[in-house]
């Protein structure tokens, strides 16, 4: 009996050593080591402008948050590629400008997403989109899939790499945003004036009829509802007017001092042991 046990143990040892020689570690400790220095999984978002579309970014951010992924934002400028003259100062300047704007946009995105615990890396490439994506895919580890924004065709990207590519289309968001920014000031003035007139009308209504008002408002008992309701109405209208007024004056809460939510904790990555082939002996 004893000899049989020994035999099995020896066999197991030999098997393990063989596995080690082949670089195929099977021990639980070994597997642990592999998962620990795991590079985070990433989503690659590709666009052709300095800044990426809100739709594509929103979609990627939602996904990244749910999956615990990071984001790589890639701005590619095909027109400033290295075709033609090798050295052109004008092109160089355009390239610099493009890079600068893209990096600034990336930084602001990075700041926003830091609260959600998502890392953002902004990359800039010039030339063919497909080649740029392929390059990034070689440099960065663990890009899981690619999201292209409007203007980048799926076929442009997918030819060079072996990753799933999704495209997000739609101008709607950008258009409405641009419109809102243009007319916000006019709208604000209109709103302030409107509310101001409404508040003035309320005050006039009370102070032009003081005798009647005072007669009923001070009757007491159920007439108490009158002054209480009045101050509520006044505080809504006049309060909204005051609020608008300060906004119009440019006196608004600073974003700096507002209590910020601390960086959300990302769920601990679940260990997903890879299925391994094992031959029972």
């Amino acid at each position: 009996m004893m000899s049989f046990m020994k035999k099995i143990q020896e066999k197991e040892k030999a098997r393990q050593q063989e596995a080690l020689r082949e670089g195929n570690v099977r021990t639980p400790e070994g597997r642990e080591a592999v998962t620990k220095d795991e590079v985070s999984r990433k989503i690659l978002v590709v666009g052709k402008g300095e800044t990426l579309d809100a739709e594509a970014i929103d979609y990627a951010v939602n996904l990244a948050e749910r999956l615990g992924y990071d984001i790589i934002a890639l701005s590619v400028n095909p027109t400033l590629g290295s075709k033609g003259r090798v050295f052109s100062p004008y092109k160089q300047l355009l390239r610099e400008k493009f890079t600068q704007k893209a990096k600034a946009a990336g930084e602001s995105l990075q700041k926003k997403l830091a609260l959600k615990g998502i890392n953002v890396e902004q990359l800039v490439k010039f030339g063919d989109v497909g080649q740029a994506v392929a390059e990034v895919n070689r440099q960065m580890k663990r890009i899981e899939f690619v999201i292209t924004q409007d203007g980048v065709k799926e076929t442009e990207v997918s030819g060079e790499i072996n990753l799933p590519v999704f495209s997000i289309t739609g101008y709607q968001g950008e258009r409405t945003m641009a419109k809102a920014a243009d007319s916000s000031r006019t709208k604000m003035i209109g709103k302030t004036v409107g509310l101001g007139l409404a508040a003035a009308a309320l005050y006039a209504a009370v102070f032009l009829n003081t005798d009647t008002v005072m007669k009923y408002f001070t009757k007491g008992a159920w007439y108490a509802a009158l002054p209480v309701a009045t101050v509520f109405i006044f505080s809504f209208v006049h309060g909204a007017f005051a609020s608008q007024f300060w906004s119009l004056m440019g006196i608004e809460a600073t974003k700096k001092a507002q209590p910020r939510p601390t960086a959300a904790k990302r769920p601990v990555a679940r260990k997903r042991p890879r299925p391994q082939l094992r031959i029972d002996t």
Binding site: M214, F217, P227, V228, S235, G239, A242, I251, A253, A257
Partner: protein, 359 residues
């Protein structure tokens, strides 16, 4: 109640000077209460009385302006994430009991020693509470400012939070977990002080900061919720006896709704201990002001003799120092806002230069 109303209520005539006074004091009072959670009432009530408004009408009209103001301020600060509604409501509930007890004590003293005795009691509680609490708030603010503006939870609050006495309550925005039994006395004292000197926040805010361990920002914002609930209840009670002069209320509101929002905006600019600085200095000056009024009441009780002229001077000085307290609070707030805004603009300019200067 009706005959009482008919007897006492003599609603004043309004002239331009009166209107301006109410609007301006309303604005400054609103600014201070938007910032520290309460205040303004201690100048408005005596101020209105000096215009010839009967005491009860002054108190009633003032209270009727207090709750919409608190509501607007609380809403504004809620948007900045500073209000702990649950904390405010829990405190307000126990404050109700405090108000009831406070009014009964007042009434008892009024029956025993007459109006002068009541005034003396009010002034004495003013002086004692404001000197002790205001002094500590000011000392703490000064200490915080010296150590670089980092607010720390004091030892008492930490100890009380560690006691597990059910029912335990968790306040999300304030981020504390404490037994309900420790919130009750604070709310009760707030109500009692509100019934006595009309400014419950002088106990409520320091109580939340030093006993419950809430930050100054959240404490002063949640105080607005308490002020709303108490002011709403009080206003209904006063309005039912027909004491509210809606004209006065609306005039004060005209200024204070501007002020309260500016004060609320101000909290987002300044360092947190500024709230304590403003509160502490106002409390200490008001204490001095009330102390100046004590000899008059003692004379009314025939305990000491004071010359009439001295008496008058003292009362004037008392009222002026109250105005000074409020004005100084407003100046500190506006000054701090101004500095913070300028620093921010500078920072933004530097950042812009950095990002686009190279092109």
């Amino acid at each position: 109640m009706h005959d009482v109303a008919a007897e006492t209520v003599k609603f004043i005539d309004l002239n331009t000077a009166n209107i301006l006074f109410l609007v301006i004091v309303g604005f400054i009072g609103g600014l201070v209460s938007g910032f520290i959670g309460s205040g303004g009432a201690f100048v408005l009530t005596p101020g209105m009385m000096s215009l010839g408004v009967p005491g009860t009408v002054a108190v009633a009209s003032n209270m009727c302006h207090k709750f919409p103001k608190a509501m607007v301020g609380a809403y504004k600060r809620f948007k900045y994430g500073q209000v702990d509604i649950k904390l405010g409501l829990v405190m307000a509930a126990s404050a109700g009991g405090g108000v009831w007890v406070g009014i009964n004590i007042q009434q008892w003293i009024l029956n025993q020693w007459g109006e002068a005795g009541s005034n003396l009691y009010v002034s004495l509680s003013f002086v004692i509470i404001l000197v002790v609490v205001g002094g500590y708030v000011f000392y703490d603010a000064w200490k915080t400012a010296r150590t670089g503006g980092e607010e720390k939870v004091c030892a008492l609050a930490q100890w009380l939070q560690s006691i597990n006495l059910p029912p335990m309550m968790h306040f999300k925005t304030a981020n504390i977990r404490i037994s309900m039994w420790f919130t009750l006395p604070i709310g009760f004292a707030t109500g009692m002080l509100a019934a006595t000197i009309a400014v419950g926040g002088f106990i409520g805010v320091p109580g939340m900061i030093y006993v419950l361990g809430v930050s100054g920002l959240v404490a002063s914002a949640s105080e607005l919720v308490i002020a709303f609930v108490m002011g709403f209840g009080g206003s209904i009670k006063w309005a039912m006896s027909g004491m509210v002069d809606i004209r006065l209320t609306l005039l004060i509101l005209a200024g204070s709704l501007f002020g309260v929002q500016l004060g609320a905006i101000g909290t987002t600019y300044v360092k947190e201990h500024m709230i304590k600085v403003v509160m502490g200095s106002i409390m200490l000056i008001v204490a001095v002001s009330r102390a100046l009024a004590i000899p008059t009441y003692l004379k009314d009780l025939e305990l000491i003799t004071v010359a009439d002229s001295t008496n008058k001077t003292l009362m004037t000085a008392s009222f002026l120092s109250m105005c000074f307290a409020l004005g100084m609070g407003a100046l500190i707030i506006l000054g701090a806002m101004w500095r913070a805004k300028r620093a921010e603009a500078k920072e933004a300019a530097v950042a812009l230069e950095k990002s686009y200067g190279k092109v």
